[in-house]
């Protein structure tokens, strides 16, 4: 039995007086891919925001990660101003060099950026403007941004949205590599049942509270059409 990387104990979130999450207790094992499923409005993205400490919550969330370990995050939506003149290379360099990106990219950041883009199938696109990218390309850039430095905990909110089948296969391989070779714990929100079956070690169905958790095939079978 693996040791847990993340423990949620009676976690609740209220918004405008309404319970968005209630009494969520969950243990997520280290070096696994744990997928959270549920209908729209079930509180899946809110759960990730609570784990990231970006919203107020009741209860306890314990991260059992090495000191100083990196946490990666791929948000569901990226509401950046699409008219902002920033290239993909500059965006990725923002957190990879101290030198202001408006004064140019340092050689180390340039090399790292090229390496990350190659990993998500966007080689040579450093000079493309962020605002010119399609939804799928933008999502791949966000994934590239989240996997360096190699995170001990990676939180992905619908990472396959907008990706074509080849890109989804590449994403699956990337996530499995992180889990298997770098021991990254991955918590992922997904509506893609086929992807869940392919890569998940464990699945939790939530609808404001935990409805079911366990082996992917069994949880998906019990969930029926609920989580689609």
């Amino acid at each position: 039995m693996s040791e847990s990387a993340l423990e949620l104990d009676h976690v609740g979130v209220r918004r405008d007086g309404r319970a968005v999450l209630e009494d969520i207790s969950l243990e997520i094992n280290a070096s696994t891919i744990h997928v959270v499923i549920g209908p729209n409005g079930a509180g899946k993205s809110t759960l990730l925001a609570a784990v990231l400490g970006q919203i107020a919550f009741s209860g306890t969330i314990r991260q059992r990660l090495p000191a100083g370990a990196a946490i990666g995050y791929v948000p569901q939506s990226f509401v950046a101003d699409r008219t902002l003149p920033i290239t993909i290379g500059e965006f990725l360099a923002l957190s990879r060099q101290r030198w202001p990106v408006c004064l140019g990219l340092r050689p180390a950041a340039r090399a790292k950026t090229a390496e990350l883009l190659a990993k998500v199938g966007l080689s040579g696109m450093e000079r493309r403007r962020l605002g010119e990218l399609s939804g799928g390309e933008l999502r791949r850039v966000l994934i590239a941004n989240a996997i360096d430095p190699v995170p001990a905990l990676l939180l992905c909110d619908e990472p396959a949205t907008g990706l074509d089948p080849d890109a989804v296969a590449q994403l699956d391989a990337l996530l499995c590599e992180l889990r298997d070779q770098h021991h990254t714990t991955i918590v992922m929100v997904s509506h893609d049942r086929a992807q869940v079956r392919r890569i998940a070690n464990r699945v939790t169905l939530i609808d404001r509270t935990v409805k079911d958790t366990g082996q992917p095939a069994k949880v998906l079978e019990r969930a029926g059409d609920v989580a689609t």
């Binding site: 990666g72 990226f78 509401v79 950046a80 923002l94 990106v101 966000l142």
Partner: protein, 294 residues
């Protein structure tokens, strides 16, 4: 500073500029623009990226109220930096705090603050004009190079260098937070400090620019250069460079217009900035390759 004025006068003569442009106060104005334009133009691209245009307008209104408070409290009219900066910083910090706490949209919260500062300023203006002629206050409202002193220029130079260094130090964090606060927080960017720190930088920059550009128009200098630069820039580097160049060209152009046609400096600079924006607008549409895009 006399060498600087002598240099400008010699240059103006060599270039065959009209007699009006050879006055020492114009030399002070040129130096002020050379210092302020890169600072405000440089900041403008981050102000627009952080969607603080309306916020900057409110700071301009708050500056007017700060001026009136200072004058009403007995400060000399030619040295009201303390009251303007104090009131603007107070408004800026409270505005950021309320915006972060409130569930209302940010522009609604900022609109409330703008109404409050303007209302307070107008009420206090009545008190101030009992002691001073309204035309003396107009210089700060609309900007005038006539009232610039060497002391003002030294202040602009010192604070400009400090603000430029602080912005460069935090640049990547400011831009990361502007693009996506959730991603920035996940990457351990101190987003709260960035939020407050950047408005403090903008507030100080606006305060030191008031004498040249004026309280009512200063927000244009931290918004329009970046708006025009967006039409032509392809990266943050070119965005920064274009913002600074446009601020510089419009600043010097506005100063010439102001001196030759004897109109307020701030108004002339804003007109020149607007012209730059409308010149670059079709250029941006042409470069984007989609002329029908709205």
């Amino acid at each position: 500073m006399s060498w600087l004025y002598d240099w400008w006068i010699a240059l103006a003569k060599a270039l065959g500029l009209s007699a009006e442009l050879q006055y020492p106060f114009v030399a002070r104005g040129v130096v002020a623009i050379l210092l302020l334009a890169p600072l405000l133009g440089g900041l403008s691209h981050l102000v627009v990226a952080r969607r603080l245009a309306f916020f900057s307008t409110t700071l301009g209104q708050a500056a007017l109220t700060g001026l009136v408070i200072g004058v009403a409290a007995g400060q000399p009219l030619d040295d009201t930096y303390a009251s303007i900066l104090g009131f603007c910083l107070l408004v800026a910090i409270v505005m950021v705090y309320v915006r972060r706490q409130a569930t209302l949209p940010p522009d609604t919260v900022i609109g409330v603050f703008m109404a409050f500062t303007l209302g307070l300023g107008i009420c206090l203006l009545v008190a101030a004009t009992r002691r001073f002629n309204i035309h003396q206050i107009e210089a700060v409202m609309f900007g005038s190079v006539l009232t610039l002193t060497d002391h003002d220029l030294v202040l602009v130079l010192a604070l400009g260098a400090l603000l430029g260094a602080a912005t460069a130090f935090a640049y990547n964090a400011i831009l990361a937070d502007s693009l996506s606060p959730p991603i920035a927080r996940a990457r351990r960017v101190p987003t709260t400090a960035v939020d407050y720190g950047f408005v403090v930088i903008v507030t100080i920059a606006i305060t030191v620019s008031l004498k040249v550009i004026g309280a009512l128009l200063v927000e244009a200098m931290v918004v329009v250069p970046a708006a025009a630069a967006r039409n032509v820039a392809r990266s943050t580097r070119s965005y920064l460079v274009w913002s600074m160049v446009i601020a510089l060209v419009a600043g010097l152009g506005g100063l010439v217009i102001s001196t030759v046609w004897r109109v307020p400096t701030g108004g002339a600079i804003v007109l020149a900035l607007s012209i730059c924006f409308f010149i670059t607008l079709p250029l941006g549409r042409w470069r984007s390759g989609s002329p029908d895009r709205s």
